[in-house]
């Protein structure tokens, strides 16, 4: 019985694998004609650096990230409770902390000190990667029904022009959890600057379920409150 079954299986697999000699050239040419007229859909978050020369830079960045995690981890060991820890920037000590920490997400090292409630958010955020840096004055925020914290702001100073050019509004989505997950809202080539910070929040929300696909666990720590 086993032999019979194996023999039938072999016949099925052999039939399935037979050459059919499809001519793909016509389909290919038609598809490429359509490709010429089709714009790529660029995500609102980093999908990886496109510079094939950056392998060593990535290695260095990875080593730096490990160092950041180690240092941050050491600093946080005694039982950080959020507001009591020394922030990298303290824009408004009296406001309630919304997201405070140092982390690496999508290869970008960042610090965030966001304070406020609801849409009213202030604070600062910095991003750096392989010698490029950017600073953001945080301006707005939103917490979704699903608990996702969306924060946006204006890039005030930047050498990190690929993703965070000065004068543009950018943002970050933070999903509470262990670990926290994060997603950047970056500027795409040709994007005009958003006139209002709320545009960042709206753009995040417009991504719908795609937003969840972009979220990645951070390295480091962000305290999300209140």
């Amino acid at each position: 019985m086993t032999t019979e079954r194996d023999s039938r299986t072999r016949v099925v697999l052999s039939w399935l694998r037979e050459d059919a000699h499809e001519n793909a050239e016509r389909v290919l040419l038609s598809a490429l004609d359509e490709v010429d007229l089709t714009q790529q859909r660029r995500p609102r978050w980093p999908v990886g650096r496109f510079d094939p020369m950056s392998s060593y830079a990535k290695l260095a960045a990875a080593a730096a990230a490990v160092l950041v995690v180690a240092v941050v981890g050491y600093q946080l060991l005694p039982g950080r409770t959020g507001p009591g820890a020394p922030p990298t920037a303290a824009p408004s000590p009296s406001a309630a902390p919304l997201a405070v920490g140092e982390f690496t997400s999508h290869g970008v090292e960042a610090t965030i000190d966001a304070r406020g409630v609801g849409d009213d958010v202030t604070g600062t955020m910095t991003m750096s990667d392989t010698g490029q840096d950017a600073s953001v004055a945080l301006e707005c925020g939103r917490t979704t029904e699903g608990g996702l914290l969306l924060i946006g702001g204006l890039v005030t100073d930047s050498t990190f022009t690929e993703w965070f050019p000065a004068g543009h509004r950018v943002g970050i989505a933070l999903q509470p959890g262990s670990p926290v997950k994060a997603l950047w809202y970056i500027v795409l080539p040709g994007d005009p600057p958003l006139q209002e910070c709320q545009g960042v929040v709206d753009a995040f929300l417009a991504e719908g379920t795609k937003l969840n696909e972009g979220l990645e666990p951070i390295e480091g720590s962000v305290d999300i409150g209140p």
């Binding site: 499809e22 793909a24 389909v27 490709v35 089709t38 496109f50």
Partner: protein
């Protein structure tokens, strides 16, 4: 797959994508034809998938996973074609003009007829598992990844599909096939 081409195409290099697509087109057409069992539907699915891969490529976060990701795009296109053409063509093109007609005896023809009928009775879901596993030679885990279903579901569908295909070879089915091809 040349990852450098993938990265260049992600960045919008149409020439790089042309090279990628030349390779993809052959694999896509062969795979979609085996899933959809119709060359016209397969060509449509392949063209749609090639355009979709170009359009969505910047969203692929790990270029090393291009192969699995591109198959996923293709299978979605096959599902779309399958939905669009619910009435499957009843005519069995056992030996299409572009295939070599040297497959031998009437027994072979009958055998192919039975297998063709059997696979057409399967759902596109089952065909996709069967083709990805046994034609594209993907490991079960990769099939699960491509189809975005649990490994257990892949195994279950594969078992069902293979059982149905083997059953088509049962001796008592042969006479019916012979009648049907007259």
């Amino acid at each position: 797959m040349d990852q450098d081409l993938v990265i260049r195409a992600q960045a919008g290099d149409r020439a790089a994508y042309g090279l990628l697509a030349a390779d993809l087109a052959k694999r896509f057409l062969a795979t979609s034809r085996r899933i959809l069992r119709d060359i016209d539907l397969a060509e449509d699915a392949t063209q749609q998938a090639l355009v979709a891969v170009w359009r969505e490529l910047p969203q692929l976060r790990d270029p090393a996973r291009f192969d699995a990701w591109s198959y996923r795009v293709l299978v979605r296109a096959c599902y779309a074609e399958g939905r669009r053409t619910r009435a499957w063509s009843p005519n069995l093109r056992l030996l299409p003009a572009d295939e070599p007609a040297d497959h031998g005896s009437m027994d072979d023809v009958i055998l192919r007829d039975q297998l063709e009928r059997a696979i057409r009775r399967l759902s596109v879901d089952h065909r996709a598992v069967l083709v990805l596993r046994h034609y594209a030679d993907m490991p079960i885990e990769q099939v699960a990844q491509v189809l975005d279903i649990p490994v257990g579901t892949v195994n279950s569908r594969l078992h069902h599909a293979m059982r149905a295909m083997r059953a088509a070879l049962d001796a008592d089915a042969r006479p019916a096939a012979a009648e049907a091809t007259r």
